[in-house]
Symmetry: C2
Subunit: 160 residues, 2 copies
């Protein structure tokens, strides 16, 4: 984990999910960065991912289109702020592309992969600009949704 | 100028100042990135800059402390999103450091330096998350303040 991930950030604006996953860091990083793998775990079933477009570099765009069971699609455009292979990804919806402020900056996600006893400590942090947004994100089901996705991720990397 | 600076961004969320300055790009870039030079032009007199701390890299922190004629100080913390020597600087107050969302994302500044007929086309864009913030920034005196600073900048680089 880098220094910036360890700094104290106000807990009332942050949500954190962490798991110890029995797979090496590079497989988790692949599952987070290869579109055909992302589609297999990144939405909590029965939601699915109908499209993924990634430009993996600081300032590069990311687009995840989520589809609900009725077929309604929800695009999530954003950009990467930091990309460190097999270690760390940071992305945000505060910009729709470099450097165009979005209409509503909601969160910045920091995902880290660390060696821990032969497995990988997987941590996903969602940091918000306001306490209200953190609360809304929690009520939207952050822990359940990201938790279910983490289960799907662990099942996927076990097969890679 | 890179593609991203040329894209159409909604004019009601953007403020732009541009000048043709009779100096090469590298001197303008130095004036924007060397603390002892920044202090000589970056605040519209009689305001001054009392402190500057820069970590010139994507994700690096920037701090400009402005001082009014009565000695009151106004720190402006932010981070760099993009640093391209002699060409381009992008910074924002949406993060206080990498990657900690600030309490109020107000603007992202894009500063570009381009060759034009033996001089340099200097352009500073301020992009906002809301129309209200763009309007507030304009009423705070964006054009007068940045304009006066551009005059101070041009006078400084003429002596470098």
């Amino acid at each position: 984990m880098t220094t910036s991930a360890k700094t104290a950030f106000p807990g009332d604006r942050e949500l954190v999910l962490t798991r110890l996953i029995d797979a090496p860091r590079d497989k988790l990083f692949r599952a987070w960065t290869e579109p055909k793998l992302i589609k297999q775990w990144f939405a909590p079933l029965p939601w699915t991912i109908s499209a993924v477009e990634l430009d993996l570099r600081p300032g590069g765009s990311s687009l995840f289109v989520m589809r609900d069971p009725d077929g309604n699609e929800f695009p999530n455009p954003g950009i990467y702020l930091e990309v460190v292979k097999n270690e760390r990804l940071v992305f945000t919806d505060a910009f729709t592309r470099a450097w165009e402020p979005s209409e509503k900056p909601f969160m910045t996600a920091i995902v880290t992969f660390e060696d821990e006893g032969g497995k990988t400590r997987y941590t996903a942090r969602a940091r918000h600009w306001t306490v209200a947004d953190r609360e809304a994100h929690e009520k939207m089901g952050f822990h359940e949704g990201w938790g279910q996705c983490a289960d799907q991720l662990a099942a996927l990397v076990a097969k890679l």
